[in-house]
Amino acid sequence: MSRQANRGTESKKMSSELFTLTYGALVTQLCKDYENDEDVNKQLDKMGYNIGVRLIEDFLARSNVGRCHDFRETADVIAKVAFKMYLGITPSITNWSPAGDEFSLILENNPLVDFVELPDNHSSLIYSNLLCGVLRGALEMIRKLRYAANA
């Protein structure tokens, strides 16, 4: 098997295209199965949740990050370590609430939406809602672990 100089980046690119295409096929199938966008959004969130509760273990095993001391640190780890590890992007953290318990992640180059155009009849579809579910599931697992440790 010959090794070409650009093989590495080429296969990484293809791997992300496979991912993008698969996600697109998934959302398309969901839109076919459920007639309205709200149900699709809910299903994406549910699926993402199922992924998140397991992904967090993989993340903690591979990333070696210690315990986060506060929510700001958590936000940093999510944006700079987790997103980088799994999606190869680093979203920006903005929009902190005054109480410091809410923030926004802005994804400039979301790999999920490469080549994707939403038609007009799906205006209320949250295409990347799977990511919301993943975050929800992953963080819920950590919170549980925290409580267990404190108890």
Binding site: S11, M14, A25, L26, Q43, G48, D58, L87
Partner: protein, 168 residues
């Protein structure tokens, strides 16, 4: 020999990069269809999704490659370059009867390696293969080959994909 799959179990599939996210998303939507209990429909849907993805993928992947000499050349491409791109390894064994039937054997199929190697989940393995069958069928379809692709698992994590070329 195809046993009807039923029941559910969460897969834990992890590897580098976005492969785990991809693989786990498959676990995600398997739990979605478990409620329907119509496993035949589930497999068909997964296969159809794989088909769409395979079509798109092969287009992107072959836009700069040279023309294929013949059917065997295409199958070798699937076994080597295509499989390496998707699963980071090649097909271990390709057999053909030179009359349109090809058997692709993968001794360590990446979607099955994280599952227990015994007989326990053998009957559920077909769910994890359905998408890949579609992937092959879709890829071949956009290379001008109409086919039927089935898969069988005799012992985890090895599996065989059987491709039957349909002469138009």
């Amino acid at each position: 020999m195809k046993s009807p799959p039923d029941g559910r179990f969460p897969p834990r599939l992890a590897a580098g990069g976005c492969a785990p996210l991809l693989a786990q998303s498959r676990g995600g939507f398997e739990s979605l269809w478990v409620l329907q209990d119509e496993n035949g429909r589930c497999i068909t849907k997964l296969e159809n999704m794989g088909f769409r993805v395979g079509q798109g993928l092969i287009e992107r992947f072959t836009k700069d490659t040279a023309r294929f000499k013949d059917e065997l050349d295409i199958m070798k491409f699937i076994c080597k370059d295509f499989w390496t791109t998707v699963f980071k390894k090649q097909i271990d064994n390709l057999r053909t009867n030179h009359q349109g039937i090809y058997v692709l054997q993968d001794n360590k199929f990446r979607l099955l390696t994280q599952m227990s190697a015994g007989k326990q989940y053998l009957e559920h393995a077909s769910k994890y293969l359905a998408f890949t069958c579609g992937l092959i069928r879709g890829g071949l379809s956009n290379l001008g080959i109409k086919s039927i692709v089935t898969a069988e698992v005799s012992s985890m994590p090895a599996c065989k994909f059987q491709v039957m070329i349909q002469k138009l």
